[in-house]
């Protein structure tokens, strides 16, 4: 598996990370090296093997449908880049 330059740029767009042509070229080399490492996975037959997400045989714990959180928005928004009237400010999205 080898990434082309347009593919690198597309992945960067999916990840919402701006990337210049020079950076994409440098990244391409490194990424393809990493893909060579990852390709080793294809050497083993995993037919019939269940994917494993967790070491223990557990299921997602549920809790009672009760409100347990308190309103702490003042504290949380004190560290925001731009806030007004309890709202986070960002560039206009809808014209």
């Amino acid at each position: 598996m080898s990434l082309t330059l347009p593919e690198v740029k597309r992945v960067a767009w999916l990840a919402r990370i701006e990337i210049t042509d020079a950076e994409a070229a440098a990244a391409q080399g490194h990424l393809n090296g990493i893909f060579k490492l990852i390709e080793q996975m294809q050497s083993v037959d995993t037919e019939g093997v269940e994917p494993m997400a967790h070491g223990q045989d557990v299921v997602q714990r549920l809790r009672e449908d009760r409100v347990t959180e308190t309103d702490r928005h003042v504290i949380y928004q004190a560290i925001a880049p731009q806030v007004e009237d309890g709202l986070y400010l960002v560039p206009r999205v809808i014209e």
Partner: protein, 493 residues
């Protein structure tokens, strides 16, 4: 006092031979003197630390002391601590003052421990050398031209240079154990689910675990007693009966005091001793195994046939989960926001491009790619299947042995900057540690000798699920018969 164990410090504090304020101040003085040459700490806040120390002294005076009361601990800068700048080693969070405490921080604070400071680390825990830190690389006190390992390098150095009696770190692919090995100290990654991840800035959620770093197995046990336990705020936290991890430390497995480890079967996987392992590391590990045999243990050859796939599978799963976890850093609610941008999409793209370092961006790109349409099955799903095979190898091996031992890293600490050309070369450092994260097994590293350049060598122990108390006992008995864990680097007196 420099080599005092947590237990010894606790006794000194209880007997009023030492106050927490004196102990904390003495640690702060050592940080001021030694850290400029080591760069282990990102944030020191003497006023906050001393206020905690005063409260601890009051606790001790009114007879309410617990084992960690009054003890200053270094916290890896990945644990959110209320009122403390928490940067995760990144420009993205360079000015993030946490509004809340991580569960582990709450537990340690409630136990009366003191936060000595926040330690430097590979950015967002992605690294094996503590060189990708936004705050500059951390230096190894055994040789300042070498790395201390990563990503919990700052915490490892805080302990190795005796700036703090103990520290906390996190381990996703080896980030507690490998820096412990490179820096000549002890570190433990618990069974996945034993230590709550609430407030531990997420890297790879199915792999991350917080754990203690200290000078001895006994100290690790005392720390784990406070760190472990159910937390409803972490959906992967396991509800289990409370354990005292010190309970087995002194108990020999059989009555014979001369052979305290009689009956212990140590699994030694042949796959761990192939090409790529330095002969100096192999020799130190072999000497440790001989020592365990002297203590009564028996070696058993075991096979971990899929161990060669740990690194590839890890470097699919961890970046994939990281790409999801780091998508929250968009400049909207906290963290770095670019100074100039044209619209919202541009704000995201520039904030992330400017706020993240190169290695983090690489891993996000890999992760995004392997999760994207058309590639998920071939990569992420394939890696999760290999994960199952790796875990099954251990289940099989543990039918024939109690613990698995080997080297923690293929070499001793390498030179600063020596692995920067090729990311893959750096990744191969994780060859012995990643399997335990993939399988969710408890694992630790303890010092077992010295190698090239008189640098420390770490012995890796892996146990079955929830075998921490047994592993700590085995390590403790080894440490009663040897003194590798008491060695300290020159120049930190």
């Amino acid at each position: 006092m420099l080599n005092s164990t947590l237990k010894q410090l606790s006794v000194l504090l209880a007997q009023k031979k030492l106050s927490s304020v004196e102990l904390t101040q003495s640690c702060l003085d050592r940080v001021a003197r030694l850290d400029p040459g080591l760069n282990a700490f990102v944030t020191i806040d003497a006023e906050r630390s001393l206020a905690q120390a005063r409260a601890a002294d009051a606790s001790i005076a009114s007879g309410k002391a617990q084992p960690l009361t009054g003890i200053p601990l270094a916290h890896k800068d990945i644990f959110c601590a209320a009122g403390w700048r928490t940067t995760c080693g990144s420009k993205m969070l360079a000015n993030f003052v946490s509004p809340y405490d991580a569960h582990v921080v709450e537990q340690l604070n409630a136990a009366g421990a003191v936060i000595l400071g926040k330690t430097n680390m590979d950015e967002f825990a992605m690294g094996s050398s503590s060189e990708t830190c936004f705050w500059g690389p951390v230096k190894n006190p055994w040789d300042r031209g070498r790395v201390p390992g990563g990503s919990s390098g700052g915490s490892a150095v805080a302990v190795a240079a005796r700036m703090a009696p103990a520290a906390i770190g996190t381990d996703t692919g080896g980030s507690i154990r490998q820096p412990a090995a490179f820096s000549g100290i002890c570190g433990l990654k618990p069974t996945y689910g034993v230590v709550s991840r609430y407030g531990m800035i997420a890297f790879a959620s199915s792999l991350d675990q917080g754990g203690p770093m200290a000078k001895s197995a006994e100290d690790l046990a005392l720390m784990l007693n406070v760190m472990a336990g159910f937390d409803a705020r972490d959906s992967t936290s396991l509800a289990r009966p409370t354990e005292d991890y010190t309970r087995m430390l002194d108990a020999p497995t059989e009555a014979d005091r001369a052979k305290p480890l009689a009956g212990l079967r140590i699994g030694v996987p042949k796959e761990y001793f192939g090409d790529g392992l330095g002969s100096d590391v192999a020799a130190a590990v072999e000497a440790a195994l001989v020592q365990f045999e002297k203590l009564g243990a028996k070696r058993v050859a075991v096979n971990l046939p899929n161990s060669g796939l740990s690194v590839p599978a890890y470097y699919v799963i961890a970046p994939a989960e990281a790409s999801s976890n780091l998508s929250r850093f968009d400049g909207v609610r906290y963290g770095y926001r670019a100074a100039e941008y044209s619209d919202l999409a541009d704000m995201y793209a520039k904030s992330r491009a400017q706020g993240f370092g190169a290695e983090v961006k690489r891993r996000i790109l890999i992760g995004t790619y392997v999760l994207s349409h058309g590639y998920y099955d071939a990569y992420y799903l394939k890696a999760q299947k290999i994960r199952r095979l790796i875990a099954q190898d251990f289940v099989e091996a543990f039918k024939r042995c109690d613990l698995i031992m080997g080297p923690t890293a293929p070499s001793v600490a390498f030179g600063l900057g020596s692995m920067s050309a090729d990311p893959v070369q750096m990744y191969l450092n994780d060859i012995y540690t990643t399997a335990a994260n993939l399988a969710g097994l408890p694992a630790m590293s303890i010092p077992c000798g010295f190698g090239e350049g008189s640098m420390p060598v770490g012995l890796h122990l892996a146990g079955n699920y929830f075998a921490e108390a047994r592993m700590l006992q085995v390590a403790h008995q080894y440490q009663l018969a040897t003194d590798w864990h008491l060695r300290q680097p020159a120049g930190v007196a």
